[in-house]
Symmetry: C2
Subunit: 124 residues, 2 copies
Amino acid sequence: MAASNERIREVVEAYVSLIAGGTAAEIVDLFAEGATVEDPVGSAVRTTREEIAAFYGTLEGLQQETRLIDCRIAAGEAAFLFEVRTITDGGTFTLAPIDVMTFDDEGRITTMRAFWSDTDMSVG
Amino acid sequence: MAASNERIREVVEAYVSLIAGGTAAEIVDLFAEGATVEDPVGSAVRTTREEIAAFYGTLEGLQQETRLIDCRIAAGEAAFLFEVRTITDGGTFTLAPIDVMTFDDEGRITTMRAFWSDTDMSVG
């Protein structure tokens, strides 16, 4: 049976929160074995836990704030708009991707695809 | 070569606009031959032009307003949040789905999947 909408919502909220304040290991724990990450859509798909951990590891040193703007869930899949603000000495970089995720029956992420491009990034 | 981001943006804007004010035939014209429509995600996938036309035909009699809220485009695919307000004697029904679309090289829609559920509908 597909994970409930409530369970998927919890995982999406945990994911967005961990992007700002979590470790790569905590983020990877949200993913199922064999999960894949395509961020952004069109880039090389990360297919191993090591690749996924390395990808999220690049966020660990950054000062980031995130918020979930809108989330739609249907039939064990989610699409959600969220904002990531990265605060640096050179300014604040803001990006609001739309991520699409599928989940296994326990609500672990099985695929993640992030829709955004360079032109969606703003600096303030 | 994949359709440009500008071309895809135009098609998304046309789609959202036609949901409010277009005919089923005008909407179907945005789709490639062999296109599929899954609305909402998890429902039966419409695979023929007749099925797709019948689906959008149900909107023709309604008084609707739409607006594109946010759109992200990457590698010939789009994910976008838009709002549909349906005005009836019984009130105004508002739904803001996130749609995910793929496109052929000319920017015709090849697949459409709409993320929303009944709980995302509000009545005012």
